[in-house]
């Protein structure tokens, strides 16, 4: 391996090749993939990318796993990647190596105590989708219901722990400088480790099914606890198409607006009413239907917010006064104090700039929004990324918003792909 460019990802890869065993690390898996020559062809790249950026992105994408996720979560704020790459990163999926039918069989038997044929009326040996940490198979339950069975790749928890040991070491300089708070790495690790317990995911599904019931356009799967464990999760099969397939059908502007509005509504309902959100914005987790309903799958990554944080968000969302006022400044400082941090002048300035140059444009604060915001124009994405980067540079990253920021970014990216027009402020106002 050459040491032409000493990027963090390169360092991590270098360390992985020295230290981590074949089975012990996702990074090791990435190396294995490179070796097998399958890493190519997976990146969808825009022609505008420079070579260096493309290489960096390929590395990150092939890392997948924990490194992928931390890259995804933190790089949004770090400005180490070009904007378009960053925007796409938010929706990339963390996925495990594929399992052949024999390994799937072993995992099911060990986890549920019986062979798949004894449990289900029928079970498809090949997966129909990749999931975070595993893969999903079609099956038919004994009662004739069609189900999706998610099966976890073996030993995943430990590989994540191993990778975080690496990541902690590699990110020491950024921690020391205060750019990446130590708590941020803890937060990401905790969230990812939580995803390895499918029982917890089943609880999340039940929670969100109940909480999101008022939104008639949201569909959530039902869990079959009798066919589930910490490593196997059986759910009712959801209908709908993924974003790419949905767009390939050339949906009308009206339908795209409607779906965009629903997506936007869903996000703010979760943040402001439920105070918790489905925080994995990967496109595979959203299923779009022609009746403008949205199917949500994969509840492994759910972020529960603190009520104080939500109260703070309420106070600054659609803030109608001047952003350079003492009142606004007081609001920002109060919240940073609550998080046990000081708000330096530089950070405050970037926060104000964020409010002015992004939020006020996308969310006009006036009492009635005549025109919907058009997400087709990508300037808003560039604004968002630029402001995020500045926030990182001035050490303003908030641990609690890491996952929310990723979900928000993912939502913007999806709205942009949909070219949706949404009455943004009207929707937020509903829940303030």
């Amino acid at each position: 391996m050459t040491s032409a460019k000493d990027t963090p990802a390169r360092r991590a890869l270098g360390m992985a090749s020295m230290g981590a065993g074949i089975a012990g690390s996702y990074l090791g898996y990435a190396l294995q993939r490179a070796f097998l020559g399958k890493a190519e062809g997976e990146a969808r790249l825009k022609s505008t990318h420079t070579r260096a950026a493309r290489r960096m992105r390929d590395e990150l994408q092939s890392l997948r796993g924990a490194a992928m996720k931390i890259g995804q979560t933190l790089s949004l704020q770090t400005g180490t990647l070009p904007d378009e790459t960053l925007a796409e990163l938010a929706t990339l999926q963390m996925s495990a190596p594929g399992m052949h039918p024999s390994l799937v069989r072993v995992q099911i038997k060990r986890s549920l105590g019986r062979e798949p044929e004894e449990i289900f009326k029928s079970f498809a040996p090949d997966p129909f989708a990749a999931a975070s940490l595993g893969q999903v198979h079609h099956a038919v339950a004994r009662n004739g219901k069609r189900v999706a069975v998610k099966i976890q790749y073996p030993g995943i928890r430990q590989t994540i722990e191993n990778d975080f040991r690496l990541i902690r070491a590699v990110s020491k300089p950024a921690q020391a400088s205060g750019h990446i708070p130590k708590t941020a790495i803890d937060e990401v690790e905790q969230q990812i480790l939580a995803e390895t317990d499918y029982r917890r995911e089943a609880e999340n599904i039940e929670f969100f099914a109940k909480q999101l019931a008022p939104l008639s356009f949201v569909r959530i799967p039902r869990v079959f606890p009798e066919y589930s464990s910490d490593k196997v999760l059986t759910m009712s099969l959801m209908t709908g198409r993924h974003l790419e397939d949905f767009l390939a059908q050339r949906p009308s502007q009206r339908l795209r607006n409607e779906l965009g509005t629903h997506l936007f509504d869903l996000f703010y309902f979760q943040v402001l009413k439920v105070e918790a959100l489905h925080a994995d914005p990967h496109w595979g987790n959203y299923l779009f239907n022609d009746d403008a309903s949205i199917g949500l799958v994969d509840f492994g990554c759910a972020k529960y917010l603190q009520p104080e944080s939500v109260a703070y968000l309420r106070s600054i969302f659609l803030y109608s006064g001047a952003t350079d006022s003492a009142d606004f400044r007081e609001l920002l400082e109060k919240y940073y104090r609550f998080q046990g941090r000081k708000l330096p002048a530089a950070t405050r300035r970037t926060l104000i700039s964020f409010a002015e140059n992004f939020y006020r444009k996308v969310y006009p604060p006036g009492p009635d929004q005549q025109q919907p915001f058009d997400f087709a124009d990508q300037t808003f994405l560039q604004d968002y990324l630029r402001e995020s980067k500045n926030l990182f540079r001035t050490k303003g990253v908030m641990t609690e918003y890491l996952f929310m920021a990723r979900a928000e970014m993912g939502m913007y990216q999806t709205l942009h792909r949909l070219k949706a027009r949404v009455h943004t402020s009207q929707i937020v106002r509903k829940y303030l």
């Binding site: 074949i22 090791g28 294995q32 039918p101």
Partner: protein
């Protein structure tokens, strides 16, 4: 599981005149005694340790006279070897007799082979560790140089070679392919050690290890990329 062979000294050519039932019954009871001895021995190897176990203790545990043990096995090493033969036989059958694996890729067949071996060994994990060390002692019947152990290894590696032959066409053989069976033997011992030392819950890490290492290994046997 395949039936083990009858001891040579007692074997008779099958006679057409003889009534099949009594002969079958006798063979069955012999088989039962043999299995009883193996079971008793393994449980002692596992609890008391291989070295501390005597043939006398095995006989007592199996509920037979010590002399009877010697009608079936020469020594306790012989019993252990019989167990390893069973392990290999059932693992090969798990691959051969599974219709699902007929069109499976090589790495999946090899995974099933090694995984079946480890599953078979799992109840006697403690004994496997000591057996591995014991086998390294010179002149041990379990050791790699004893005639019977060599025969077992040849049978096992012959099977691995067969699997490779039927999965990778000749023109795609890499320069490493001809070494593959020997390399696989070392790999198997490595996997066994990994499994013995694997403290992860449900030995999940061993599954990941087998899966990933076999993917790499098999790709090295093929020339060109898919």
């Amino acid at each position: 599981m395949t039936a083990s062979r009858k001891p040579k000294s007692k074997a008779r050519p099958p006679s057409r005149k003889a009534k099949p039932r009594p002969a079958g019954r006798r063979a069955q009871s012999k088989q039962a005694i043999r299995e009883g001895i193996v079971k008793a021995a393994l449980s002692l190897f596992q609890t008391k340790g291989f070295d501390a176990t005597t043939t006398k203790a095995i006989a007592r545990k199996a509920g037979i006279a010590e002399g009877t043990v010697f009608n079936y096995f020469k020594s306790k090493d012989d019993i252990a070897l019989h167990f390893f033969e069973q392990e290999v036989d059932q693992a090969m059958a798990a691959v051969r007799d599974n219709p699902r694996l007929r069109k499976a890729p090589l790495e999946e067949k090899l995974f099933t082979l090694v995984h079946s071996q480890l599953e078979f060994l799992a109840p006697y994990e403690r004994f496997i560790g000591t057996a591995l060390i014991h086998a390294l002692k010179p002149a041990s019947p379990l050791g790699p140089f004893s005639h019977r152990a060599q025969e077992l290894r040849h049978r096992y590696l012959g099977f691995v070679e067969e699997l490779i032959e039927e999965s990778i066409p000749k023109h795609r053989h890499s320069p490493l392919t001809f070494l593959a069976p020997e390399v696989f033997w070392i790999y198997y011992l490595g996997a066994l050690l990994y499994w013995l030392y694997d403290s992860s819950e449900g030995k999940q890490n061993t599954l990941a290890f087998l899966d990933r290492s076999l993917n790499i290994g098999v790709s090295m046997l093929k020339r060109g990329r898919r």
